[in-house]
């Protein structure tokens, strides 16, 4: 007995090498699997929901390459529902991962594409291109949305970075709110001046996935993929930046450059999402924070999980948007705002305010 006791005593000191590295790895694998399964289920539900009833078993069979669907059912799933599900997934992934990136880069738990003014900037950029009639030129729409998004974040950051503003998290958010309101007002003005269709204005401001086909998917996909790749590669960088400018610099990071990499990639993802889906708020806030609360993990893991869970989340929101008032359709931004605003209050409570 004595012998065992002594062994137990030394056990604390002589631990096997890298226990926490192994544990962190297991956690990452576990949550990635949960994320992928969730995404798969969301896609099945997304393909299932609609006026024509098609059995989920048939849908899963079709997704796996076989199945018992009739030609008509296949056409509905493949040509009508799939592009919309894929688009919702892309937009959800883009908004979530950019929210996660903005939160880390600005060290502000309440930062998200919507609140920082980058979504509004992208919206203005996209509207300008449409109004000027050059939307069909290749890359014009994503490029304008991207410039608008960067402009929005840049303005908010510049407003918050003045000496008078005190460079606090709060001033960044206040700057973002002001910039977002201003750019949204400009966007509405431009659109009102150039179209009589009020519905289109509202559709844009509230977000929409309705007019979707493969065209929008191909428009957004390359930019979302590029941004996700950069942000995934930067996930360690996000942890370094979370230590603040002084400590990050003392670890040899080029803080300004590194933050710019993250912000530009996040703005690219935001712009791609806004260019195809309008303004959809709160996704970038809800998804990363829900992941943080559930996993207790740092940004290194949250970045990747934001992509899969963000995609699943918006696919499910879109299902709600198309079914709750069927045969009509709610703008998806209404759904995310209904979930997001209470969630925002929760995050605000938990983070003790943006200090």
């Amino acid at each position: 007995m004595k012998h065992t006791a002594r062994l137990e005593g030394t056990h604390l000191v002589a631990r096997p090498a890298r226990p926490s590295a192994a544990r962190a790895h297991r956690r990452a694998v576990r949550w990635t699997v949960i994320g992928v399964v969730t995404l798969f289920v969301a896609v099945v539900i997304g393909l299932f929901a609609g006026a024509v009833r098609i059995s989920p078993v048939g849908i899963i069979g079709w997704m796996l390459g076989g199945g018992s669907l009739t030609e008509q059912q296949k056409a509905i799933v493949a040509e009508l529902r799939l592009p919309r599900v894929v688009l919702a997934g892309l937009v959800g992934a883009a908004l979530s991962v950019s929210g996660c990136a903005y939160q880390a880069a600005f060290r502000n738990p309440l930062a998200d594409p919507y609140l920082l003014g980058s979504a509004a900037g992208a919206g203005l950029g996209a509207t300008m291109v449409i109004v000027l009639g050059v939307a069909d030129a290749p890359l014009a729409l994503p490029a304008a949305a991207f410039l608008g998004a960067l402009g929005g974040v840049g303005l908010a950051y510049a407003m918050a970075s003045t000496r008078a503003a005190g460079r606090t998290s709060t001033s960044l958010l206040l700057g973002g709110v002001a910039v977002a309101s201003f750019l949204t007002a400009l966007q509405t003005y431009v659109q009102q001046r150039n179209t009589d269709d009020l519905r289109a204005v509202y559709a844009f401001i509230l977000g929409r996935l309705g007019t979707s086909g493969w065209h929008e998917v191909w428009l957004a996909l390359p930019w979302v993929a590029l941004a996700c790749a950069v942000l995934l590669a930067s996930r360690r960088l996000l942890e370094v930046l979370s230590l603040g400018d002084l400590e990050a610099a003392s670890l040899g990071a080029h803080v300004t450059r590194d933050r710019a990499i993250v912000v530009i990639a996040a703005s690219l993802a935001t712009a791609a999402a806004v260019a195809v889906a309008g303004l959809i708020g709160f996704v970038g806030l809800i998804v990363p924070h829900a992941i943080r609360m559930a996993t207790g993990a740092s940004n290194r893991l949250v970045v990747g999980l934001s992509i899969v869970f963000g995609a699943a989340f918006l696919i499910l929101c879109d299902v709600l948007a198309r079914t709750v008032v069927a045969p009509g359709e709610l703008p998806i931004g209404v759904i995310t705002a209904l979930i997001g605003a209470p969630f925002f209050a929760l995050v605000l409570r938990r983070s003790g305010g943006a200090r």
Binding site: L12, V13, R15, A17, R18, P19, S20, A21, R23, A24, A233, S234, R236, L237, E239, V240, S242, L243, G244, L246, E247, A249, S250, L251, G252, A253, H254, D258, R292, G296, A297, S298, N299, R300
Partner: protein, 260 residues
């Protein structure tokens, strides 16, 4: 090791360090002491290359300016005065961030980095807390984690900005003993900004008294920490006593003994 000549630094439009020259030998411990607002922190950050400075700072005979940020971080590690407490990092992950200057921009840690982090955790006596969240540590434990992160940089110069700030007596000595032991075992050079003159005297080989951005006196603790010098610059009567082992004890005089 480090040779600073005529270093001038400004914060905003105000010059806070006026032409400071310092020399620190390899393996030595130099403490920079002085009243609040003397420019101790600024000087330390300037030596780390983290704040712009004029004049010349040589590290191993080469100007610090000529080195990249990564190179600097491999040579000089900073333990800041008020380190940021991250939300969701474990102690092991936190210490691993010290490997940043050894990794490429988008790189991640190799097995050898993990092994090193565990060696460091054992040195700062936090191996048991490797999987705990940094945010759940006590003040003294977090302080040791920050020292651990600095050690993981494998830098030869360790800059400590008020290493005992916010710590109780026991933890103050614990942190300084730890640094001192590491200095002995790993041959690290230490420059610290210190408020506590007794602790500065006990641990450092040399002390520089910085007042309003200028070095007033520099040398071994006994020559710099003299009552008459300190009284003049701290604007309070000071007793410099000898402890049982002959160590210097610096205390401000009590109100009864204040001469009017």
């Amino acid at each position: 090791m480090i040779d600073a000549r005529d270093v001038r630094m400004s914060r905003g439009r105000r010059e806070v360090v006026h032409g400071v020259s310092l020399h620190v030998d390899a393996g030595a411990w130099m403490s920079v002491v002085g009243p609040n607002g003397a420019g101790k922190s600024s000087l330390l950050l300037g030596l780390a290359g983290l704040l712009p400075s004029q004049g010349e700072i040589m590290f191993d005979g080469r100007p610090l300016r000529a080195r990249s940020a990564r190179e600097r971080a491999r040579m000089i590690a900073l333990v800041p005065q008020q380190p940021v407490l991250p939300d969701a990092l474990t102690v092991a992950e936190y210490v691993l961030l010290g490997r940043t200057p050894h990794l490429s921009l988008f790189g991640s840690e190799a097995r050898s980095d993990h092994v090193l982090a565990y060696t460091v955790l054992a040195k700062v006596d936090l191996a048991w807390a490797a999987d705990r969240l940094v945010s759940t540590l006590s003040g003294g434990e977090f302080h040791r984690a920050v020292v651990g992160r600095a050690l993981a940089q494998e830098a030869r110069l360790l800059l400590l900005d008020e290493p005992t700030g916010g710590l109780d007596l026991g933890h103050q000595v614990q942190v300084l003993e730890l640094v001192n032991a590491l200095r002995r075992s790993d041959g690290i050079t230490v420059v610290s900004a210190m408020h506590d003159l007794t602790l500065a005297a006990r641990y450092s080989d040399r002390v520089a008294l910085l007042v309003e951005g200028e070095v007033i006196a520099e040398g071994d603790p006994a020559t710099v920490l003299r009552a008459d010098v300190l009284e003049r610059h701290y604007a309070v009567p000071v007793h410099v006593l000898r402890g049982p082992a002959g160590e210097l004890i610096v205390v401000a005089a009590t109100s009864e003994s204040v001469r009017t």
